[in-house]
Symmetry: C2
Subunit: 406 residues, 2 copies
């Protein structure tokens, strides 16, 4: 980009300031917000982190914590993660793991690694907005990933090539996905591996919410299924698994990870070395201690809290939403996805909701690569009290009833 | 990149493991290393950081420190940086500042923002290896930046276009640069602005070492000179200033910053949002406290220590290096750049130095975009005691004398 272009595009792309405007509105004390897909800060393990940072900075690790470190990440953290991965059937060693600054960075690096302008990325319709944001920088086309009904490889490859590029990967968030709260079925996961094998493309498995399952049976990760199919050999797998501590321990410390075959990890390590050297050393040391000592108990605590909030939201939706409105029943995570009657527009409803009902949420069309889904909205239940959830859905239900009647 | 290509290129690009091998050698206790361009960890402000992290995590800031935050960075830190910038003549407001995960990330984002494959980047010969690493991802050509003798804009533009791209920016490290220790003169800084104005390109001013001036007169940053020329209006400036806490407070926390006109910052904020959301919140809060309370006194301490080490190294070079060897006399920073007689090869010398003299350094040719400079080596004096510096240079001098005689 030239300096001139940067100055010219300024007016049309002030997304950061738009967000600031929205956040200002949300800060008004009488607004009940189901907008941000963020953890409840009251549930952060503050004491545990205070101790971990104190231990790191007052002990023999202090110099190491403040110094440069290797691009692949702090070894004891990779060891802990490898054990966690093994527990869910992924035969990873620490050499299969790269520490990233949140899983968002993993998505950016994977976009950079795979995509040239005009290539095709297969994504869900809708899908995680941050994934589209990360991939967009590399100028791909998007095609709809719908594992149980997608045509097979050669068709797809032909479509992609007609557009001037090649299909490079399928991206999907597997458990209680942002934005829908939906979980990809066992059959669909297996089908994604078939599809990827046929098309010779990678699979990017976004498992950011995986630890937040409240009920129902856990479904094995795609990488687990693929490794099992390929004789337990991770090196033969095309699936790249992205994990994160953002939904379990803390998003503000920016620590996530990628699990993949070693050649993929080697490329990502080189990329990280060139892009930001490494993720913050001290944060990796502190998160290792908190993970080793408190991960399971802490995750149980937040699961209980979020699960109760989901229940309240589902109950309130049943009580207050008029006929013609439907919603997902997520088995975990942070989100419920609401589909309104076709004539309603989520963005228009948000404006009214902020003005009259004093309730906030995210209109759904932003999550569609093709801009469809105007009659959908995303509700987050993770960061509101049960009382506020009951009250907010009551107000929203009244507003939707009014809008349908109008 | 396709999965197949990744698996194929594996063997030729195992840079991370090569580095691991080198690091293993350097860990041997009898090796005196002038290789790593890293701060002395004994000089980190550990107590101050221990207090800052404790204050952040035990007080009302805890939830904020562990939560998501804005892509542009923590406002009080941007306020502190803006004041520092104003003190050196850069009329920056907090809105002109983006917090990055080290200045390495700034270089990556600037490469991503400006460069399309085949574009030209003007860089020093030699220049900072990490800058080449960051820019290489965007596949530019390089041309030699030599402000006092470079031909003017149209010539350059024609050269660049003949290669299929456009000249997009000039990159230079201005004070006690890595790897040479050299400082860009006032006249050369002024000339870079002329050149950039003529060519309508950006200037990337890497000021990573600026605070580490031991003696001599400080030279105003390029951005200061340009702002003064343009009526004190930063918004009219094409220079983009990259700063870092890595050489002053801590590299392991990964906190740096970019100062630029607001349209450039807006673009970089969007890019950061897509690439890793934001730099670690807690680290920004802690570094703000340490910077506010201890920056000047701490920087004075490390300047004193590094300055004494530079003096010892310069004295030892004079004592022990044979005729035909020359070196820079840096006024600050961490590096001395040694030019050997033309028939000697720095990489070959390193092999001998590790085996017989048990001394390590970095061969200079890696820092040249064109692979020249084989008879140069980089010595870092920041991370060795004065005794080890005296002893190491003595051993190295003997080895060089032997190599010349051979």
């Amino acid at each position: 980009m030239s300096l001139k272009e940067i100055f010219a595009t300024r007016a049309t792309r002030m997304k950061a300031s738009e967000i600031r405007e929205l956040l200002k509105l949300l800060d008004q004390p009488d607004i009940i917000s189901f907008a941000g897909g963020i953890p409840d800060p009251d549930l952060f393990p503050k004491t545990e982190f205070a101790k971990a940072f104190a231990d790191a900075l007052n002990g023999p690790m202090a110099a190491q914590g403040l110094q440069y470190s290797t691009s692949e990440g702090y070894l004891p953290l990779r060891v802990w993660i490898a054990r966690q991965m093994q527990a869910i059937g992924i035969p990873a060693t620490p050499d299969n793991i790269l520490i990233t600054s949140g899983s968002q960075q993993a998505l950016d690096y994977l976009g950079k690694l795979f995509l040239s302008p005009g290539d095709t990325a297969l994504v869900g319709w809708p899908t995680y907005l941050g994934a589209l944001g990360a991939f967009n920088a590399y100028e791909p086309h998007y095609d709809k990933l719908d594992p149980l009904s997608n045509r097979t490889g050669p068709d797809y490859a032909a479509t992609a090539e007609a557009k001037g590029g090649k299909a490079k990967f399928a991206y999907l968030s597997v458990d209680f996905a942002n934005p829908t709260g939906a979980t990809v079925s066992h059959a669909a996961r297996a089908r994604v591996i078939d599809l990827a094998d046929e098309m010779e493309i990678a699979v990017i498995e976004d498992a950011a919410y995986q630890s937040l399952r409240f009920d129902g049976e856990a479904i094995p990760p795609i990488l687990t299924l693929e490794a099992a199919r390929k004789g337990g050999n991770l090196e033969a797998c095309r699936t790249i698994y992205c994990g994160s501590f953002s939904k379990t321990l803390s998003p503000g410390l920016r620590v996530g990870w990628v699990v993949a075959a070693m050649p993929v990890i080697s490329q990502l390590v080189l990329m990280k070395q060139a892009a930001d050297l490494h993720s913050a050393t001290l944060n990796q040391i502190a998160i290792t201690q908190v993970a080793e000592q408190h991960f399971d108990s802490h995750v149980a605590t937040i699961r209980d809290a979020y699960s109760a909030r989901r229940d309240v939201m589902l109950k309130a939706l049943t009580q207050h939403m008029p006929e013609g409105v439907s919603w997902t029943k997520p088995e975990g995570g942070m989100f419920i996805w609401v589909t309104l009657p076709g004539q309603l527009d989520g963005a228009e409803l948000l404006k009214q909701a902020l003005e009259s009902a004093r309730v906030a949420f995210v209109p759904g069309h932003a999550f569609f690569a093709d801009g469809s889904g105007r009659n959908t909205i995303r509700l987050s239940f993770s960061n509101s009290s049960e009382d506020k959830i009951a009250e907010g859905i009551k107000r929203l239900g009244a507003l939707v009833s009014k809008a349908i009647a109008a």
